[in-house]
């Protein structure tokens, strides 16, 4: 299982995914905090059978809401805004997922968690509802990770 927290540390709630990864790391869970472009992301999850990615999203719901998406929803939904890609060539998480699916290199069991963000201005702090959601999701994912490490585990 690969856990990736994706985001931009310089734009407020856009750091949500990175913060989730950071919390998981402090719990001893091997999560990756990623700012990679699409090609780098494909490299990160190469060969994994299970993938969980966390990112900030804008869907118009209450800030701090934790959404759970299947890859097709992320790739194709026009109502969903993901964290702005950090590469100046603009190929971020959405493109990575789409590319991976097209190339047949997306882990079969892939889930994307989106934390609804409130503010994304440069140098903004993470907003309180997002901070709460980050902590809550990190605890959930830690449990998912521990469960997956047990023999004959069933996926949560």
């Amino acid at each position: 299982m690969i856990l990736i927290g994706y985001g931009n540390p310089l734009r407020g709630d856009d750091a949500a995914g990175l913060e989730v990864a950071r919390y998981l790391q402090t719990y001893g869970v091997p999560a990756v905090a990623s700012e990679h472009d699409a090609a780098g992301l494909l490299e990160l999850w190469r060969g994994a059978d299970r993938l969980i990615v966390v990112d900030a999203v804008i869907t118009g719901t209450e800030p701090g809401t934790i959404h759970r998406f299947a890859p097709e929803q992320v790739e194709l939904s026009a109502d969903l805004t993901l964290a702005a890609p950090v590469s100046s060539h603009g190929l971020g998480l959405r493109e990575a997922i789409g590319l991976a699916r097209a190339l047949g290199v997306l882990p079969a069991d892939t889930v994307i968690y989106g934390i609804e963000g409130a503010r994304f201005e440069p140098n903004a702090e993470i907003s309180p509802p997002v901070e709460r959601a980050v902590r809550g999701l990190a605890i959930r994912l830690r449990f998912a990770y521990l469960t997956s490490m047990q023999p004959a585990a069933s996926a949560p």
Partner: protein, 430 residues
């Protein structure tokens, strides 16, 4: 006592990917072409003032997420000139190696994910990947080899941390470099294959009279140094850059457009390098270029994708050559002590010449910084090309005309989300 200052930076919306193209037709007459690109370097020139010279390479690396090495190389060499510091020759070879990694990574990304879809008739890389998955995978493998080289020599993938005035904080060992050789050999094969693949694309018939500008070196295909040369006969040391190239404010884009003092627009990048340094390519790559339709002189900007592929092969070959001859320097960096001085440097970023100039005070703090990126230098030429290409294709329905314009802009591999389909194209016909 505290002061509150409010600084509003409209440019930061660029993070979302704002590039805009505006075409206006009055009947059949193309009356207006505007290309709007935002420019981070302007801000960096300001907030670098008062910073220590030691911070400059890392700060300027943040200007570009896809070519940080270029910024580090131009800035560190300019600073070393100002401080009159000369790194060991082996350090220079390592810097070339690092730069090769960036060229491989940047060119492969651009060819496969940004530009090839245009030629294959797809709106973006994703749809191209659906139909050509094996081909795209090869491109990604090529890119990742470049990344691996940058990570090894530079210490980190996205913004290398090992570059410093005087040399490197840490140099790789012989063993570490040798470990990359199999991947680089495979990358060379992939790059040659890529060249042959893109050489078979359809190229619109467009051969404008350009002035190409690039570095020219007595023996090397240019990366780190040389003279500034142009196909119209310019041959000057880089110290004279600002005497010959000037930036002017272009109101519609809030950007500075470069032009030559003596004349108009000019073109930098792979095609410029190839045209001015073809004889510096090893014979087998000259042959590759020739059978791929880009032997010098090549003046069709749409063939820049082929020039890029040839350069990718060259960078793989050059990386292998450097590793083969590699000797660790006696020390990773020579001492660089603060002193007052001025220095400038031009290096060849993947997209073309990148000029940095710094003035330091006696404590080594930056008094003045000037950074001219390749994309800014190409901007005027991009607009001139757009005018011509828009006319060529003006009879097409708007979506197809827009696609041709985007394909044209991508010849320049601009460091903006214009390179993806985020370019906003507005066409007005009356």
């Amino acid at each position: 006592m505290s002061r509150t200052r409010t600084i509003r930076v409209d440019y930061m919306t660029r993070v979302e990917g704002e590039g805009a193209l505006f075409l206006k037709f009055a009947g059949d007459h193309l009356s207006e072409v505007q290309l709007r690109i935002f420019e981070p370097p302007r801000l960096f020139e300001s907030f670098l003032r008062g910073r220590s010279f030691r911070e400059v390479p890392d700060i300027t690396a943040r200007i570009c997420g896809i070519c940080p090495v270029a910024y580090q190389m131009s800035s560190v060499q300019a600073i070393e000139k100002a401080l009159q510091v000369e790194p060991h020759p082996q350090v220079r070879e390592l810097r070339r190696l690092l730069y090769c990694g960036e060229w491989i990574e940047s060119h492969a990304l651009h060819i496969y994910l940004l530009h090839a879809p245009d030629f294959l008739g797809y709106p973006d890389a994703l749809s191209a990947a659906h139909d050509h998955p094996e081909r795209v995978k090869l491109g990604l493998e090529l890119k990742q080899t470049g990344n691996a080289l940058v990570t090894l020599v530079g210490g980190r993938e996205i913004h290398p941390i090992s570059v410093c005035p005087g040399g490197f904080f840490r140099v790789p060992s012989r063993t570490e470099l040798d470990a990359l050789v199999p991947r680089l050999r495979r990358a060379l094969d992939l790059a040659i294959d890529t060249t042959e693949w893109v050489a078979g694309f359809d190229f619109p018939d467009y051969e404008p009279a350009y002035d190409y500008v690039a570095l020219r070196h007595p023996t090397e295909y240019p990366l780190l140094d040389g003279h500034l040369a142009s196909t119209r006969g310019l041959d000057i040391p880089v110290e004279q850059y600002e005497d010959h190239f000037v930036e002017e404010h272009a109101p519609h884009s809030h950007a500075l457009h470069s032009r030559q003092r003596q004349g108009g627009s000019y073109h930098v990048g792979p095609l410029a390098r190839l045209n001015l340094n073809f004889d510096r390519l090893p014979p087998d790559l000259q042959a590759l270029a020739a059978r791929s339709g880009v032997a010098a002189p090549c003046t069709n900007p749409f063939r820049s994708i082929v020039a890029r592929a040839v350069e990718t092969a060259w960078a793989c070959q050059e990386a292998l050559r450097i590793i083969d001859h590699y000797q660790e320097p006696p020390e990773a960096a020579v001492a660089a002590e603060p002193r007052a001085g001025k220095g400038c440097a031009v290096t060849e970023a993947p997209r073309g010449i990148l000029y940095h100039a710094y003035e330091l005070d006696s404590q080594g703090l930056v008094r003045r910084a000037k950074i001219t990126p390749p994309t800014a230098q190409n901007q005027r030429r991009m607009e001139d090309d757009l005018r011509e290409v828009a006319r060529m294709f003006q009879a097409l329905p708007d979506p197809e005309l827009a696609a041709r314009c985007e394909q044209l802009v991508r010849n320049y591999d601009p460091c903006i989300s214009c390179a993806t389909h985020a370019l906003k194209v507005r066409i007005e016909r009356t």
